[in-house]
Symmetry: C2
Subunit: 356 residues, 2 copies
C-alpha cells in the first residue's frame, strides 16, 4: 500500500473509455447522460467501448459533482411485523421505480440508536429521509431540521410541526371498531394500550370516547407498560366483575399474542365470553383459533403517500406542512362474536364456523 490506492484498482474510469473510443471524456459523458447531442459515429464508438469495458460510472464522483445522492434513507424500529415488512418493501419498490435507491436502517425503538442512524443517513447525504419514529424522536428530528434534510414521519403521529406526516386515521378506526362492536350488541369495551401519554393512544382514546358516547357503550382502559403480570391481573379483575367487558381491543400484535396467552391461562373463552380485536395485522392472525380480528394499516398506501410528500420536499416544492391520515381496514373474524340482546352477556358465534 505504498501510496493511497491510485483509483479503485481494476475499475475502468471514464478516461479509459474515452481513450478506447478515441474521444474526449466530455463526449463520453455526453453520450452517457444523453443531455448533449453527439454524432452517430462517435456515439456508436463510445457505446461500444462502454459495453466492451463494462464501464459503470463512479457513483461517488457523480454525487460529489452534483450534490444529490439519489438515495433515500428510511429508518424504522425493525422489520419483524408484517406491516413494517410490507412498508419496507413497498418503499423500496416505489423508490426504485423513481430512480432512487434506499438506505435502510433500524432504530430498535431506541432513540439513541435512532439518532445515530439518522446521523449516518445524513452523513451519507441521503436526499431525503423517511422516519418511522421511536417514542421520543426529538433529537433525530432536531438534527434533520438543522441540516435541512427533507424528512417525512410515517406511522406514529408525532407532535412536531416541522415535518410532513403520514399516519393512520386512528380516531376514525377506533370509532368504526366500536360502532361495529356496538352493532353486535357489545356494551362494555376494554381497551389496552401501552401508555396514554402517546399521541397515537390519545387519538384512539378520542375515537373510543366519541363512539362510546354515540352508541351508548361503556369503556375502560388498561395502561400496560410492558408488564405482562400487571396486564394479567387487570384482565382477570376486569373480567371477574359483575358487568364485565365483552370486547377487548388491543393496541398492537405483540399485545395481542400476549393477551391471547393470558386469556387461555385465565380460561376465558374467546369469543364466547370475550371478543378480541387488535390493531396491527400479524401474519398469524388467521392461523390461530379463533382467527384474530384486526385493524389493518394500509401499509402500501402510507408509503406511497410518504414518497409523494418527500419528493415534493426534495424538489423544494413550496407547500405547508401536511399530515395525511389514511383509513384502516377493519376485519372482524372468529375472535369477535355477537352478544345477544336479551340474555345479558350471552354470546353468539358470528365468524364463519371454526373449520380451521
Amino acid at each position: 500500500m505504498a501510496r493511497a490506492r491510485k483509483a479503485t484498482p481494476g475499475r475502468t474510469r471514464i478516461k479509459d473509455v474515452a481513450r478506447r473510443a478515441r474521444v474526449s471524456v466530455g463526449t463520453v459523458s455526453h453520450v452517457l447522460s444523453g443531455r448533449v447531442q453527439v454524432s452517430d459515429t462517435l456515439r456508436a464508438r463510445v457505446q461500444k467501448a462502454v459495453a466492451a469495458m463494462g464501464y459503470v460510472p463512479n457513483f461517488h464522483a457523480q454525487r460529489l459533482r452534483h450534490g444529490m445522492s439519489r438515495v433515500i434513507g428510511i429508518c424504522m424500529p425493525h422489520t419483524s411485523t408484517a406491516y413494517l415488512n410490507l412498508a419496507s418493501e413497498a418503499f423500496e419498490e416505489v423508490a426504485s421505480r423513481n430512480g432512487y435507491s434506499v438506505m435502510h436502517v433500524f432504530s430498535r425503538h431506541e432513540p439513541a440508536i435512532e439518532l445515530d442512524r439518522i446521523k449516518e443517513l445524513i452523513h451519507y447525504r441521503a436526499d431525503g429521509l423517511v422516519l418511522f419514529p421511536s417514542f421520543t424522536p426529538g433529537e433525530a428530528l432536531e438534527l434533520a431540521a438543522r441540516k435541512e434534510v427533507p424528512l417525512v414521519i410515517v406511522d406514529r403521529p408525532t407532535p412536531d410541526r416541522r415535518f410532513d406526516q403520514v399516519i393512520l386515521d386512528n380516531r376514525g378506526a377506533m370509532r368504526e371498531v366500536v360502532r361495529r362492536l356496538a352493532a353486535l350488541g357489545h356494551r362494555r369495551i376494554l381497551f389496552v394500550c401501552q401508555s396514554t401519554s402517546r399521541l397515537v393512544t390519545q387519538h384512539r382514546l378520542g375515537g373510543l370516547a366519541d363512539a362510546c358516547k354515540r352508541h351508548g357503550v361503556g369503556s375502560e382502559t388498561i395502561e400496560f407498560q410492558h408488564d405482562a403480570a400487571f396486564l394479567r391481573d387487570e384482565l382477570a379483575r376486569a373480567l371477574a366483575r359483575k358487568r364485565a367487558p365483552t370486547a377487548l381491543v388491543l393496541s398492537n400484535s405483540h399485545q395481542a399474542s400476549l393477551a391471547l396467552r393470558l386469556l387461555a391461562e385465565l380460561r376465558v373463552d374467546c369469543p364466547g365470553e370475550l371478543s378480541v380485536v387488535a390493531f396491527d395485522d400479524p401474519e398469524w392472525s388467521t392461523l390461530v383459533r379463533p382467527a384474530l380480528s384486526v385493524v389493518r394499516q394500509p401499509a402500501v398506501a402510507m408509503v406511497e403517500a410518504a414518497w409523494d410528500l418527500l419528493i415534493q420536499r426534495i424538489n423544494r416544492v413550496a407547500a405547508p406542512i401536511r399530515t395525511v391520515a389514511l383509513e384502516a381496514t377493519i376485519e372482524f373474524r372468529g375472535s369477535v362474536a355477537g352478544v345477544a340482546k336479551a340474555a345479558d352477556s350471552r354470546v353468539v358465534q358470528i365468524g364463519r364456523p371454526s373449520s380451521l
Copy 2:
C-alpha cells in the same frame, strides 16, 4: 437553477471550518482524521469550529478520495420471515459495530430483480456484498465476480466455487430430525420439498437417506412446486395408504402453514395421526395448537460468520474459498408425538398438554 448548484447549499465544507479556525484545510483534515500530529492550540481551535458549525465531512468526497465506501450491500429475497429479519438486524448491528453502513435491497426471489439490485449495489461502490441468493443467482454472481466485488453467499447452498458461503448444516439437521423421530417410534417419514433439483433439498435428502438407513426408517418425498392442490392430493393419498407415514417434515414455514391448513381440511389429527416438523421457525410456531416443531437456523451466528468472511475478502486476506456450515437447533413441540411400539401407528402425545 442558473448553473449547476454550487455545492450543496447550506452545508458547511471543510474550507469553511478552516477559515473559521484560521488554519488550512489540511490542518482541519489532520485534526479530524487524527493521523497527523497537530499542536494543541490549533487542534482546539479546529474542534471548536467543527462543533460550532456542526461540520460533517462530505461522504462522497471522502469516498471518492480513498476508493472505499465503508458500505456493505446486503441482498435478500424479503424480510417477512423471522429468520431473515433476525439476520438483517444482526447484520446491521455487526456492520455498525465495525464502522460500516448497510445498504439493504430485496430480490423478491426474482433473479432479474436480484441482478438489478446487485448492479445497483455495485454502482454504489459497496465494499462488499452479502447475498441470500434466489434460486438462480448465476448472473448476479457472474457480475460480482467480474467486478471483483467481495461477496459471500448466505443461507442457500449454491454450486458456485468462486465465493465463500455460510449455510445451515442441512444434512446434519435432517439426520438429527430423523434420529429423534425414530427414537419416538416413527418408522415412515414423509418429506415435502419444493424441488429436488435444489442443492439445499439434495443436502436434506442426503441426510434423510443416511439417517433412514441407519435407523431403519422408511421415507418418501413429495415434490411440491407451489401447487397447493397437488400437495393436498398427494398428502391425502399418502395418508390413506395401509402403512401411512406417521411423521411429516416440511421444508419451510410457508409449506408448514399450508400443510397445517390441509391437514385440518383432511381431518388428519396432528400429532395423533401425524407428527409435523418444519424447517424455519415462524413467529407463529408457538401460537398454533399444537405448537409447531421446528428446525431453526442460527441466524445471528450465520450473519456473524458471513461478516468475518466478507471482511477478510475486503481486506484482501489471502484464503481459499470457504463454506461454513452451521448447526441447526431442533425443537420438538406439541406437533410431534411418539408412536407406541406395540400397536402400529398408535400415537402418544408427548409435548406438554395443549394448555391453550
